[in-house]
Amino acid sequence: MDDQSILELQVDQTASKNLSEVSRWAKFLSITGFVFMGCMLIVFIAMRSQIASTLSQVIPGFADVNSLGVLVAFFIIIAGIVFLLMYFLFRGSILIKKGIETKSQDMFNNGLASLKAYFMMYGILAIIALISNFVSIF
């Protein structure tokens, strides 16, 4: 293993400086995302009856069968997706930073895994969005 580590790519000073800054900004972005999500949730809960009555004027038949339930479920799904994305970003930023500070390879790798999960989830969401757009065109 030691033999191989000399040949392997290193997280040298430049890389660790760049990654530290990545984690700082990523942490800021994820916390902003969490706060934004929380604010949206509060607004939604406070105004759910107004939202439902407005929507029932736009969409005929919205007022009947459990429409508020559908609305709540839809919102919870969206909130869950955004929360998960921000969680991956937050976890990645914390673990990469700690890994660099304590020189812990395990922590660093876990941080990279979170970064991977973040990009992967974003990609899957993009695929879903593309498919739904194509479906709505035809």
Binding site: D2, L9, Q10, N18, L112, F119, G123
Partner: protein
């Protein structure tokens, strides 16, 4: 010579991109590249439809304002301003996707060719990407705060 020994030092005792990290970064770069390409295509479509649709909107505003000669010039100006505004936003987003694309491509090449220089360039682009989004977010938050303050002042003066 001293620099070389320093690099070896960090290699033996510091962090490295081992097999696990390599697998994670390969996958991350693959998804990031896909996202960037989808983003480029989306931005191109938006730009084309803005430019092509501009004349349509202008004629629409013109028809609305045909009985109002003073307003027609204003409406055309507004349309052009709106198109320029959205093109600026498209340009801002384009740069974000450019940094993402550079991160992905440099990472892929670095892992394939075991190149430390490309790895560092890739991480540098990731840094620029997040800093860029962070600064845009701060600007957005400042505008949001200004908006809230203006609304509160407006209510207070009523």
């Amino acid at each position: 010579m001293e620099e070389q020994s320093q690099i070896q030092d960090t290699g033996l005792f510091g962090l490295s991109i081992d097999t696990t990290g390599r697998a994670h970064l390969t996958e991350a770069a693959r998804w990031a590249r896909f996202l960037a390409i989808v983003g480029f295509i989306f931005i191109a479509l938006v730009a084309v439809s803005l430019i092509a649709g501009g004349s349509f909107f202008a004629s629409m505003f013109g028809r609305v304002n045909q009985y109002n000669e003073v307003g027609s010039g204003l409406a055309t100006g507004m349309t052009i301003a709106l198109i320029v505004y959205y093109l600026c936003i498209a340009l801002l987003v384009f740069f974000a996707y450019l940094f993402l694309y550079r991160f992905a491509v440099n990472m892929k090449l670095a892992l394939q060719g075991n190149s430390q220089e490309l790895l560092n360039r890739s991480f540098q682009n990731l840094k620029i990407l997040y800093r860029y989004w962070g600064i845009l977010t701060i600007i957005g938050l400042v505008f949001f705060a200004l908006f809230v303050v203006i609304i509160l002042l407006g209510r207070a003066s009523m």
